[in-house]
Amino acid sequence: MLLVPCPNCGPRNASDLRHVGESVTRPDPNSASQEEWRSYLYLRDNLADWTVETWFCTRGCRRYFKVERNTATNEFREPPMPGNKLGRRA
């Protein structure tokens, strides 16, 4: 059971949210080369360590947010991000 700290709804069960994946920067589609674009689409670091990732709060506030999680231990570290209402800072 994984409790995901949603900045709006507080800790919620992972089954209430959708894991979007490791956060990646979207290149400008007008100027990106095919290689850049496909790297953005498919290639991931997939670290067994602290990773900044995106979740979507499907059954709560229905917002996307970023959070830092250790993919080896499943601990969350709340990063100081806009809209983080949990009051705790990493």
Binding site: H19, E22, L43, N46, A48
Partner: protein, 442 residues
């Protein structure tokens, strides 16, 4: 062998034939209380090999075995950070089948079934291959349509596969609830008679023993800490355009012109050491096993909509598997979440199991690719090859992957059977979409 000078690698070890496993040997040793020889040698790690394979599971060992058997390349080391078969090879649910969705997938997995069929003789070890039939249940019209599609693709490739109705399902597997008032009524199923189960540990030991007898070195408890690359475009000389020179392990550096990544769930981390990024995310898949009961389940039963598959081992235990966890992580502990969900789903299919007790549950790491097909062959780093992205279908593909990767290494070209699965398909956009046939829970 053209592209690589392996210095006359055909180095047959002048050793006597290893003792064969047979009923006569078992009886004779049993009567005399004679000891069995060690299955593989324990040898010191050398400083140099022709080929280093990272990962001592079915894929790594099969690659080593076929390198030695089919191509005479025996100066090979297989390195594993734990013991042989400690990863996905010992954690899967041992199901084999070839009823995939794309022609590329179907022919590929069918070659694997062919190898599994002859494996007991080839490796002289009883892998307990039980060809018992494989049923993929459809609970909705759209699922049934996909089944029909799969059946037609399969038939075109010469695979025994057809869609059957609930009466026929009930005849094959009487314990299934096929009544129309079930919560998720069973509308039909894809029946694949050549599918079945194999004893996965025996496959690992068989390949390990076969490879060892042909001169391959197996090094357990040898962790690869870094991959040595020079001339790459990255800041540290790694990455595209570079050339592999060896690996750094916790037992010292080993130089090798060819390094093969066969590490499943850890594939991205190993590839990262060479400066290669992969289209892979790691997600655990959980499985569970019940107490043994009298054999009642004659086939492998899979339900995509209910996220569950089940088979009964020859000892009578029911083995359950599920979909991968819905978020990436490297944690292989089982969760109550999973056990609860699994029990609910399996009881919908087979209400008669309500008194069964689970013995244990476990997790294994799956290296998922966006199109549910593997990543095999060459990478932008010369001499660094990958056999990864095996997601939830690695075990059934073990033998054919070993055979094809060995050919890839020995000839320096990508064999026809795995041309569709190269890493650069993600740059050209020629993905091989197998999600409909490779996964449960979509």
């Amino acid at each position: 062998m053209g592209w690589l000078d392996l210095g006359g690698a055909v180095r047959r070890r002048g050793q006597t034939r290893p003792p064969r496993y047979s009923a006569a040997a078992l009886l004779s040793k049993g009567i005399r209380n004679a000891p069995w020889p060690r299955v593989w040698r324990d040898v010191p790690l050398k400083k140099q090999y022709d080929v280093v394979i990272i990962g001592g599971g079915v894929h790594g060992l099969a690659t080593a075995y076929y390198l030695a058997t089919n191509h005479g390349i025996t100066d090979v080391a297989v390195l594993d950070k734990a013991y042989l078969g400690s990863g996905g090879s010992g954690r899967n649910t041992a199901i084999v089948r070839s009823n995939y969705l794309t022609p590329e997938g179907v022919t590929f997995y069918d070659r694997s079934l062919e190898l599994y069929n002859g494996m007991t003789e080839d490796l002289n070890i009883n892998v307990m291959f039980s060809e018992r039939g494989h049923l993929t249940l459809a609970h909705s019209d759209s699922a049934l349509r996909t089944m029909r599609w799969r059946a037609e693709v399969n038939k075109l490739q010469g695979i025994d596969s057809s869609v059957i109705d609930p009466d026929e399902i009930k005849r094959l597997v009487p314990s299934l609830d096929v009544s129309p008032d079930a919560h998720h009524p069973i509308l039909g199923a894809l029946h694949h008679p050549p599918g079945g189960i194999v004893r996965h540990d025996a496959v690992v030991w068989g390949y390990a023993r076969g490879a060892d007898h042909r001169g391959v070195e197996l090094h357990q408890k040898t962790e690869v800490l870094d991959i040595l690359v020079e001339g790459g475009s990255g800041p540290d000389g790694k990455g595209p355009g570079g050339r592999v020179t060896g690996v750094r392990t916790d037992r010292g550096d080993v130089s090798a012109p060819i390094v093969v990544n066969c590490t499943a769930g850890w594939a991205s981390l190993i590839a990262g050491m060479a400066g290669v990024r992969l289209p892979i995310t790691t997600q655990p898949l959980q499985a569970a096993v019940t107490e043994p009961v009298k054999v009642f389940l004659p086939a492998v039963v899979v339900s995509g909509s209910l996220h569950v598959y089940v088979s009964q081992t020859d000892r009578g235990e029911l083995v359950f598997g599920a979909a991968v966890d819905p978020f990436t992580n490297y944690d292989i502990r089982g969760s109550l979440d999973f056990a609860e969900g699994l029990a609910g789903h399996i009881l919908e299919l087979m209400p008669g199991l309500s008194k069964m007790r689970l013995l244990r549950q476990w997790g294994g790491l799956c290296d998922m690719t966006p199109d549910y097909s593997p990543v095999m062959g060459f990478t932008p780093v010369e001499g660094f090859l990958c056999d990864v992205g095996w997601g939830t279908y690695g075990f059934k593909a073990g033998p054919v992957s070993g055979e094809q990767m060995a050919e890839c290494i020995a000839t320096g070209t990508t064999p026809k059977l795995i041309e569709a699965f190269t890493l650069d398909r993600f740059m050209t956009g020629n993905l091989v979409g197998e999600k409909g046939a490779a996964a449960v829970g979509h």
